[in-house]
Symmetry: C2
Subunit: 331 residues, 2 copies
């Protein structure tokens, strides 16, 4: 039986709310902000063929659409609260919707957050989520707080690293051949990213700046360098000494040649890990925070006041980095 738009919304996306004052089904949802907290808001749009492949399972797409938004909250040190969803689909496909809702709500439930509103329509397959979180006034992690002398860290799975999502994409594109188990592992990294929400909360008061890695390490690092340089009153971006051979790397990516490994790690995109700047005095506290949050943190460089980006190998020699930052209109 074909379901109409309103039936469809009711069937898959209307669930009772507990934290919100009013959920799906009215003109607006009503949230109850906690006194003294600021509301953190982020929005991401996923377009088929651009942010996900048509081969992705609906469950994984539902997970990923919310995960990339939660990753933005994590990068601000905000506690997740609620989200809205816009879904444009060529047709009403119940199997797709059921799977999508399952993946979406499994991740939402894991973080205790509620779907409070949305809009569904016919059109090309796109998924838009706006996510809301709370953070005490003045405690949000920002991109502009890094200072010369800070150490640069990156989060990653214990035993894993950056770049797996990009390696999976290159396997789908036919540029690399991966053994079955490696392909399964990196495909999972691409389709089921883990937002570092617990880590983000633990970094409040420790990190001087944070950003989530969505467009590739070098590109996202550029945002921190430019904004922090300006906030510090420097004439240009902060400088960075980045140790390319210190970048954490999964066994699957470690089996690739060095050029591809560096490209995936430094310019891969879709990692959804946190890039963090913090004073060296916080080294031990950062490691403890990561352990509590169930992930790893690896130091990968230092911030400087000389404005230069230096990507160095283990012997301190410059590494060639010919890749531009990820650009959705050029990729």
């Amino acid at each position: 039986m074909a379901l109409g738009e309103f039936d469809l919304i009711a069937r898959y996306f209307t669930r009772p709310v507990h934290r919100a004052a009013l959920g799906v089904g009215d003109d607006c949802a009503l949230l109850r902000p906690t006194p003294g907290m600021q509301l953190a808001v982020s929005t991401d749009l996923l377009v088929e063929g651009r942010h996900f492949l048509s081969t992705v399972a609906p469950e994984r797409l539902g997970h990923k659409a919310l995960a990339v938004n939660l990753s933005d909250l994590a990068a601000c040190g905000a506690a997740p609260l609620a989200f809205t969803l816009t879904l444009s689909m060529p047709r009403v496909d119940e199997a797709f919707l059921a799977g999508f809702a399952q993946g979406l709500f499994a991740l939402a439930d894991a973080h205790g957050i509620e779907l409070v509103g949305g809009d569904t329509t016919a059109g090309p397959l796109t998924v838009g989520i706006t996510v809301f979180g709370e953070v005490p006034a003045g405690e949000a992690l920002r991109r502009d707080g890094a200072r010369p002398g800070d150490r640069l860290w990156v989060s990653h799975p214990v035993g894993g690293g950056l770049g797996d999502a990009r390696l999976a994409l290159e396997a789908f594109r036919g540029r690399v051949d991966l053994a079955g188990e490696d392909f399964t592992t990196v495909r999972r990294a691409m389709e089921l990213p883990t937002p570092r929400v617990a880590l983000g909360l633990a970094l409040r008061g420790l990190a001087s700046a944070a950003i989530d890695l969505s467009d590739g390490l070098l590109g996202d690092l550029g945002h921190v360098r430019r904004r922090s340089g300006a906030a510090a009153g420097l004439p240009g971006p902060l400088g960075v000494r980045l140790h390319a051979d210190a970048l954490p790397c999964s066994p699957a990516l470690a089996r690739q040649d060095r050029a591809l490994r560096l490209e995936c790690s430094l310019a891969g995109g879709d990692d959804y890990e946190l890039l963090i700047a913090a004073p060296p005095a916080h080294d031990a506290a950062l490691r403890a925070a990561a352990a509590t949050a169930g992930c790893a943190l690896t130091p990968i460089g230092e911030l400087t006041d000389d404005g230069a980006l230096q990507v160095l190998d283990a012997a301190g020699r410059p590494v060639d980095t010919p890749w531009a930052a990820f650009d959705h209109f050029r990729a």
Copy 2:
């Protein structure tokens, strides 16, 4: 010169924020909720060919994308605060972006609200906005507060009415021929709707229920009937006596034959006026509220406890209403 994604965001969509603690350019925006207020949230997605025609001027598209979201805040009686934007476009077209931003920010400035975040990407042309407003706890207008005995009202332009947007669509489709001036007028209604924000604020404490008219009067009335019936403990929806010949109508629509006039007024869609239920004791206060808000309010029916929808002509005879509610997957 072709602009990259980040340059483009910075050029057209980064403006300083005053009410928000942090605007565009970080992982999250940070809003400062006012103590004692609830946060009203609504989201709408506009897809080319479905919610707007490719012939629309970019300025008007920018206006409309925000207007339809502000209309949801109006229907809740919420004061607009901020919004986020997702924009998917086939290519970076500076003329389009400049016009779109102009129309968008002109309306935003008129309501004193700020763009606090967003996401742009390559893809089919879609515009997604999530809007935030504030309303004192317990004072939001909802769909479920209508009661038997309430009068039903609809807002409209002074000297105008419902259904013009639908009439414009039928002219674009070639179903009706309109004289030049009529076409200009109804096209403007379709492309430049006026969200009834001031009216919504003035209706707090007066209206027992409100909804904005986006999918056609009969369809949106159905939401109020069902939700209010359930909230009132009735076994089914509220009943309604709707006076078809009382529906306000523009001169352009009045020149059409009666069948088309009724279809456009009762099932047209895209009106972005408010449908309101209120006790008759509030008649005078409602008229005063409309006068203050610079629009008109016309009584169009009464709510009953008999569960039936009766659409009646001026002589009290039933009017045939063969149109289904607007459904984005069927239209």
